[in-house]
Amino acid sequence: MNFELPRIPLGEGIEAVLDFLVKHLAFATKAFSAIADQGIRVMETAMMAVHPVLMIVILTGIVFYLTRQRGVTVFTFLGMGLIWNLGLWSATVSTLSLVLVATLIAISIGIPIGIFCALNNHAYNFVRPVLDFMQTLPAFVYLIPAIPFFGLGRVAAIFATVIFSMPPAIRFTTLGIKQVPRELVECADAFGADRWQKLIKIQLPLAKSTIMGGVNQTIMLALSMVVIAAMIGARGLGGEVWRAIQRLQPGAGFEAGIGIVIVAIILDRVLQKLAKQ
């Protein structure tokens, strides 16, 4: 016998849901747009307000203040100098702004969710498969729904970046809090601490370094996504790479690529140092 299974209209279903959301979540997307756009604008304006050389000195100073390590400080100064010399300064500023804004949004949503999951097993059982899904879905796919929600441009890029980079913030926060020794939590209970006191005084401080590890991962994922998001109009270093691909200019592509590597290394070292403290 010969029969055909009807094709399940999964794609159509997802599109219908997206259409519905686009229509009915306009207030939320507008709010997100406003926050993200304003955030980037403020950061960019602040960083472009002073001469690049001065800004590089300031950034180097910040890195030294945070890490107290000569190697990282020297690398920051030379790396940033190279970027400026290659004419990639404004692209770098734009990328940094995108990454920082996306990260801020991701962790300010992700950490509370992580805390909630740590304190509530049912929530974690529900959230975990969602996180797995979010992390394994190819990054490019996030770009597509971002466009109907926000149109082409930086806000769509930030949206996709937030979704893509949030899982580690949630996971590490949950892990960090769950790793706090049971005895210490029990001790806080025995002294009559309420839920909030336990969280603020015991669990969060003891989970801090694990949570910072998650923040580090979030930033690294955000950086990688921001580059991909150049395809939907996020400018910055990713935009330079994207343009080099379209024009077949390997030199320019590598220059921008090296710029991204420099930014990534600096961010990583600073965050690792912060996580250890």
């Binding site: 005895e183 001790c187 806080a188 025995a190 002294f191 009559g192 005084k201 401080p205 003891l206």
Partner: protein
Amino acid sequence: MEKIILKNVTKVFGDNPKKALAMLKEGKAKDEIQAKTGAVIGVDNVSFSVDEGEIVVVMGLSGSGKSTLVRCINRLFEPTSGEIIVDGQDVRKLNTDQLREFRREKFGMVFQNFALFPHRTVVHNVEFGLEIQNADKTVRREKADKALELVGLKGWGEKFPSELSGGMQQRVGLARALALDPDILLMDEAFSALDPLIRRDMQDELISLQQSMRKTIVFISHDLDEALKLGDRIVLMKDGAVVQIGTPEDILMKPSNEYVAKFVEEVDITKVLTAESIMKKSQDVAYLSTDGPRAAMRKMKNNAIASLFVLDKQGKVHGIVFADEVAKLIEKGEKDLDQAIVKDIATVSPDTPASELFPLLQGISHPVAVVDENHKLKGIIVKGLLMAAIAERGGNV
């Protein structure tokens, strides 16, 4: 006065406590219950009470349910059935907020592995309980400093727990509980993680602190020596149930069953038996102000002894006289006993263990005086009494 009363407290771990509880009431064996319901009986129908100012040691091997039991008292573990009454309040009837208040007010807890907060300095650890109660900053520092001084850690407040030795860390744990000045101390294997020498120090310190604090203490231990040393009474547990409750001497002398007997078999009886329980309480003595050599000699003759303790007017031990010396005085016609009195004699306190009496009695031919803190004579001990006491209780000399 009874401070804590436990009535038929039972704790069942597992998904189906009701069924397990019903089976337990039918008298089913724990293994059978576990096999059928998957539930584990942590505490099985435990009842006892703790008087105000008393140290009760809950003792048993690991897995005997003693730590679970102590956590039922402040409901860190929710008891499955039974009643827990603290200061007349049924603890199980408190709602979450009331329970939190109750814990803050009544209990201080000390944990086996110290459970110090590694991210807080010593003084911030000690302040924790007060901080939770939103006490004023200066007040809580004051109380924390006082508590640290009490446990001998003055000046260590700014260190982190990791910078301290194990013994010192547990002092911090004790100070953290004491800072709140709670009525009740729950001490869960508080000294078990310490080296034997430091453990003994901490036990001595707790005993001396307790003399001034008079807290109600529930002390969990797996160490019989510790239980005998600290406990006013001992609750011996096995497989979640109470095997015997009694004073240390009860447990040693009148073990209620074979399990207890086996448990205490290893104990060195001479460490538990005290001077007070061995001594002879009534004896003739000479009084410094009234008795001369002849009177003293008569007393010795009447009692058929060769020496006599001499007391002053207040009943304090002044010294001892020996028959041969007194005889010399009578020969010389002396009216006063004074010349014959040997003043430099050894005395012991009523709680001196028998093991320390042996070497004392070995070197001398006269009895040892048992005196109280005011140096008043409570009784005397001779070698024969000591041997008899030990032999009577089945110990080896």
